[in-house]
Every structure is written in structure tokens, then in C-alpha cells.
């Protein structure tokens, strides 16, 4: 691959990305352009996927529950909807896995044509890629959402219990999807041919891991079912949970950006040395 294989859009995209990560002095390369273009497409698909999942879950819930009626319907009807929900969850996890596989295939093809290959002698662990605070935040968010969903199962109203069950299934599906994505991110081979591309590989991995663990779907999932039927205390608890989560995520994001800027300055100095 040569510089001629990159269009102006590619060069601009790579330059902006490098500048964002404190590597403004590094020349855009076709390897980076290929990998960033694949990630941009996948990010778009990965954003549409949860939205489609939430819509589909809402549709199943609405079809299954006629307006104003308690969900004490027939056994077959209830089981049909749970089966569809399970299939939706499996579909979400499968689609996320396929997106991860596609990115890995693009990376593998880009790496196959490199005359030189570079790698770390010590594998980057989850602490380096995701960071302790983000990992703790993701685990706490899922655990908190699960506790609240189980809490909603204890109410007397059967409709509310059914909605909580749907939330619980959805949360399990999202959790499995995140674990599968993280596994892909942490285990797929490094694609680099020098120190700069090795640094870029690490940054891309960290970005992918952060995207995968941002709990947007978790926060949105109760809107589909539970908020319609849950008691007041539950809705208040969920709003506080989301507000605290958003505040914590903002703090972690700002902290990470400041640390990355400090590291970026050091990396630029090292690259230019």
C-alpha cells in the first residue's frame, strides 16, 4: 500500500484522528486509513443495532400487551413473546459478533500485506485497554440494572412483573453482547509495522473497548417496558441510577482524556526525538 492509495477524505480522517490523540506530527498511512474507515462504518452499524433492538423489544411488548389490559393472557401467547425476545437477544449478540469479525478481517487483510510486523513483547491486558475505572463502571452499571430489574419483579402487579422480566432478558442479552465484543477487542492480533502504528493499534483497541462498554442501551432499555408499569419508587430509583451513571461516566471520560493528552504529549516527544 502506498500513500497514493489514500484519497483526500482518508488523509483528512486519519489526520484528524491522529491530532485528537496527540499524534499530530505523525504522517497518515494507508494502514491507519483502512483500519479507521472500517471502524467508522462499524460504529455506525453498532449505533443502529441497539436502536433496532430496543424498537423490536418495544414492538413485541406492545403486541403482547393490549392497551390497558393486564397481562394475564394465554400461556401460549406469553411464551410466544418470550421466545421472540430470546431470538432478538440472540440476534443482537450475533450481529455484534459479526461486526467484530468483519473489523478483524479488515485488520487481518491490512496486516497481511505489511512487509514488517511489530508487536508488544508483553500482551496488553484488559486494565491497559479498558482501564480499571471503566471496567468497574461497566460492571457496577450492569449489576445495578440487574438489581433494579429483579426489584421490579417483586411487585404485586403481574403486568409490571412481566415488563421487568422483559427488561431482565434484555439486560442479559446486552451483557453477553458486551462480553463477546470485549473478547474480540482484547484477543484479536495486533496490526502494526512500527512504533507509531503500534501506538495507534493500542488507541484503537481502547476506543473500541470504551464504545462497547458505554451503557447507553442499558439506560434506555426500561423505556421499552418497565417505565409504563413500574411503581413510582422504581422509576425514581432508575432516574437516580441513570443520572449517577451519566455523571460518573462524564468524570471518567474527562479523566481519561486528560491522561491521554499527557501521554500523547510524551508520545509525540518520543516520536519526534
Amino acid at each position: 500500500m502506498t500513500d497514493q492509495s489514500m484519497g483526500p477524505t482518508d488523509i483528512k480522517r486519519v489526520s484528524v484522528w491522529l491530532a485528537m490523540h496527540g499524534l499530530a506530527d505523525v504522517r497518515p498511512t494507508p494502514l491507519l486509513a483502512t483500519r479507521l474507515a472500517a471502524r467508522q462504518r462499524v460504529r455506525l452499524a453498532a449505533a443502529v443495532l441497539p436502536a433496532a433492538f430496543i424498537l423490536a423489544v418495544a414492538l413485541v411488548y406492545s403486541v403482547d400487551r393490549p392497551a390497558g389490559a393486564a397481562v394475564d393472557g394465554s400461556w401460549w401467547y406469553r411464551h410466544w413473546s418470550l421466545l421472540v425476545l430470546t431470538l432478538l437477544v440472540v440476534g443482537l449478540v450475533l450481529a455484534q459478533s459479526l461486526l467484530g469479525l468483519w473489523v478483524r478481517r479488515v485488520d487481518r487483510r491490512a496486516g497481511a500485506v505489511l512487509p514488517r510486523r511489530a508487536a508488544h513483547p508483553v500482551r496488553l491486558g484488559w486494565r491497559t485497554v479498558l482501564g480499571g475505572p471503566r471496567a468497574a463502571f461497566a460492571v457496577t452499571t450492569f449489576a445495578g440494572a440487574m438489581v433494579l430489574a429483579i426489584g421490579a419483579l417483586t411487585v404485586q402487579d403481574s403486568t409490571a412483573r412481566y415488563a421487568a422480566l422483559i427488561l431482565l432478558i434484555g439486560l442479559c442479552g446486552v451483557a453477553v453482547g458486551v462480553v463477546v465484543q470485549l473478547r474480540h477487542i482484547l484477543t484479536h492480533p495486533v496490526v502494526a509495522d512500527d512504533e507509531v502504528s503500534l501506538t495507534a493499534d493500542g488507541i484503537m483497541r481502547a476506543e473500541d473497548a470504551r464504545d462497547a462498554t458505554t451503557p447507553t442501551v442499558v439506560w434506555c432499555l426500561p423505556v421499552v417496558s418497565v417505565l409504563d408499569t413500574a411503581p413510582g419508587w422504581w422509576i425514581t430509583a432508575w432516574v437516580v441510577f441513570v443520572a449517577l451513571g451519566a455523571f460518573t461516566l462524564a468524570l471518567i471520560t474527562v479523566g481519561t482524556a486528560l491522561a491521554a493528552r499527557r501521554r500523547g504529549d510524551a508520545t509525540s516527544a518520543a516520536v519526534n526525538r
Partner: protein, 138 residues
């Protein structure tokens, strides 16, 4: 960082072995550091599993790494102990040289001759230490 250049005349396993050996000897990789699995490093560097396996085997034979079953390969303390032993032997040799009144240049020539003989006798045992590091790969 480890770099493997497919255009280099040096075989890939030797490039990998020499770079890991150098990083272990200059303490870039500390004693007890876990190395990637053979399969994982092979995937990262676009090499065959056997190529990485051969490099690991030679590093193990040289005492620079040790494999602890399924836990993986780790930088061994044996290399560090070997250097400490060599330093003690050198101090004893220096004391002998001083006591018999041999001058420094001759003492160094004696050591060089002994090293040449030892290298000729067992070339494989000196793989990790006698070859110059090839960090400046083309």
C-alpha cells in the same frame, strides 16, 4: 517492541529470539514478566506457530525464559543468576591477576582466548549472549 522484517536475510525465528534475548538482558523485560502465548505472538507478528515455538525453545535452552505448564512462558531469573555468577568469577579472576602481577591487557587477552575456546566448544550454549543484538533491522 518486537519487529519482524520479512525482507531481512536473518530468519524470522532468529529475529524474534535475538530481540527477546536483548530485551531480557537489558531488563526491558523484567524477571517474572509473562510473555504472550506462542499462538498469540505468532498471530500478532504474522508468523507460523512453529517459528515462534522455535524461538521460545531456544530462549528456554539459554535459560532466559521458563515455561510453567499451562500458565505460559515467563522471563526466568536464571539469566540474572548466571550474570551474578559471572561477576563473582570475574572478581576472583581479577584478584588472581593482581596477585601474580599480570598486566591488564594480557589478562584481557587470556579471557578472550578462553571465551573463544568456550564458544567453539559449544556454540548453541552461547546463542543468547554472544551474538550482537540485531535491533537495527533494515
Amino acid at each position: 517492541m518486537i519487529v519482524i522484517d520479512s525482507a531481512s536475510p536473518v530468519p524470522p525465528f532468529e529475529q524474534l529470539r535475538a530481540q527477546l534475548a536483548r530485551q531480557i538482558q537489558d531488563h526491558t523485560l523484567a524477571v517474572g514478566t509473562q510473555l504472550p502465548t506462542i499462538r498469540r505472538l505468532a498471530a500478532d507478528l504474522g508468523l507460523a506457530v512453529n517459528t515462534v515455538g522455535r524461538a521460545y525453545r531456544e530462549l528456554e535452552e539459554a535459560g532466559l525464559i521458563e515455561t510453567r505448564g499451562p500458565a505460559g512462558s515467563f522471563v526466568s531469573a536464571a539469566g540474572e543468576q548466571g550474570r551474578e555468577r559471572a561477576r563473582r568469577a570475574a572478581a576472583e579472576y581479577a584478584a588472581v591477576i593482581a596477585s601474580v602481577g599480570i598486566d591488564t591487557h594480557e589478562a584481557i587477552r587470556i579471557v578472550q582466548a578462553a571465551l573463544t575456546n568456550a564458544t567453539a566448544a559449544s556454540p548453541s550454549s552461547c546463542l543468547a549472549t554472544s551474538r550482537p543484538p540485531d535491533g537495527d533491522l533494515p
